[in-house]
Amino acid sequence: MRRTYQTAKYLCLLGWSTFVVFPFLWALSTSFKDANAVTSGATYIPWLEFEPSTKGWQSLFASGSQGINIVTPFINSTMVTLIASVISLILGTLAAYGLSRYQFRAGFVKNSDITFFFISQRIMPPIVLAIPFFLMLKEIGGLDTIAGLVLVYIALLLPIAVWVMIDFFGSIPPELDEMAMIDGCTPIGAFFRVILPNSVAGIVVAGMFCLIFGWNDFFFAFILTFTKTQLLPVAIVSLNSSVTPWWSLSAFALISVTPLALVAVVVERFMSRGSLAGAFR
């Protein structure tokens, strides 16, 4: 009885693993195909079923009309995601600390209302803000620039940083701050010298979520940029709508999802240690 249960469990785990991994394996296999191999129906194993070619991978770095430029979108995506994540983390951590340690009051607005204002931004569908963002950036000359996208991405990522950090600071006892201030620290000194060094785990988790949602956003990048500042998701979608061959598409897709897929290893580590529990209450 117990044996059958164990076997069934492993079969399910392996089944789901196959479902998860299959798109990546398919993309990997397709990225080494040529026109013949693609148009002759679905094949999977190189050498056995088709003769591998590296044309797809070469096309991403080739120059001229044959080439698809992946380097510039990659650099753009990296810059926008990193700058916006760092700014959001700094602002978000400070705000979350303030909200978790002090009472704010302005008329009927209390701490919980301010927290709700931050977090509720996640409910906002991107389409609601898309057109005003477009007109606003056009007004200040921020369309199709890194700076313009960073500005919009801060609005996207700041709520995530605040959300994770508020719960994290809730798990650090306030006595820690009080002791630092008895020892002669100013409130700001106490934050930087005592609290911040103890918050690395929370900041890493918040940072990872900022990276994931920044790197993977498509919609704002799609509407607010044209040709000068193309990001990876936009670049691949514009390839998809033209007659780009599957092998180049697959290679392009693999390069653009690999950096963050590696983040999964870090997330697993934090989850196993129980550091994520506090962040998700």
Partner: protein, 288 residues
């Protein structure tokens, strides 16, 4: 007067308010204008746009479609995510490999993976129909039939976001207290009873949080639809976000799309609040 506490809060508050509030107020104002591709500008036409929203069948159909789409995907994600989290919670061989593997889809860019899924669901050249033909199922028109396209969107959403449920639920399981399990073992409860009487009730708060977060994200479904089906065939997979995108950024009916956006936003806030309160009442048995 600025006190030290204000130095912590104000930079973030001012930044977010500056970026969000102006566009939002602007949308409200534009929704009362006839701004379109022929005539840009802020005139005032009263509530005409909203009357048009009210009579726009295509918009209400897309909302109904979104409701069933998000209910189906979030339910599937919750059940699958919980099952997977339970399976790798206790010691199993290859535990860490499974855990990392199960997390990977949520780290990947939805539109990029949708491009890959599109090639996989290709009717004659894709592997999905190839594999199905091996077990004798004829070519399924995945993206060219209404039902096929709807199922395809659900499948890709489940693939992409079950990991998120899995992450939240496993993080919750890992931090559960040990004592209730000892008590259950002493009472001689089997695995089935232990799950329903100990694990599931203890996990109720985490479950509610996870389901609500996913419902919020699912209410914005757009990327997958854009790449996979472009809302088609016809309007079979069109979600409100995608419909507003067509009206606003393709037909450039700025005023009308603003009215659509705000109606959509208000309906989402009301619906999600009601769902959150109901879930709280049923699962935790207390007022939210």
């Amino acid at each position: 007067m600025l006190k030290p506490k204000h130095y912590f809060l104000l930079p973030a508050l001012v930044t977010l308010a500056a970026i969000i509030l102006f566009p939002l107020l602007f949308t409200v104002r534009v929704s009362f204008s006839s701004w379109d591709v022929y005539q840009a500008g802020l005139d005032y036409i009263g509530g005409k746009n909203y009357l048009r929203v009210f009579a726009d069948g295509r918009f209400w159909e897309s909302l109904m479609r979104l409701s069933s789409l998000s209910l189906i995907t979030v339910t599937l994600q919750y059940v699958l995510g919980f099952a997977l989290a339970l399976a790798v919670w206790k010691e199993v061989k290859g535990q860490r490999i499974f855990r990392v593997l199960f997390l990977i889809p949520m780290m990947t860019t939805p539109v990029v993976m949708s491009v890959i899924w599109r090639t996989m669901l290709h009717e004659s050249l894709g592997p999905t129909n190839d594999i199905l033909s091996m077990i004798g199922i004829g070519p399924v028109p995945w993206l060219s039939s209404a039902a096929g396209a709807f199922i395809s969107v659900i499948m890709v959403e489940v693939w992409q976001w079950t990991p998120f449920m899995f992450l939240l639920l496993l993080a919750g399981l890992v931090s559960l207290p040990k004592e209730p399990y000892l008590a259950a073992a002493i009472d001689g409860a089997g695995p089935w009873r232990t799950f329903w009487q100990v694990t599931f009730p203890l996990m109720a708060p985490v479950s509610i949080g996870a389901v609500i977060i996913r419902l919020i994200e699912a209410s914005k479904i757009m990327d997958t639809v854009y790449v996979l089906t472009s809302g088609g065939p016809g309007t079979a997979t069109e979600t409100p976000s995608y419909y507003i995108y067509i009206r606003g950024l393709r037909d450039f009916q700025v005023g009308y799309s603003a009215a659509l956006s705000l109606t959509y936003l208000v309906l989402m806030i009301i619906t999600l609040t009601i769902i959150a309160k109901l879930l709280m009442r049923f699962l935790v048995g207390k007022e939210a």
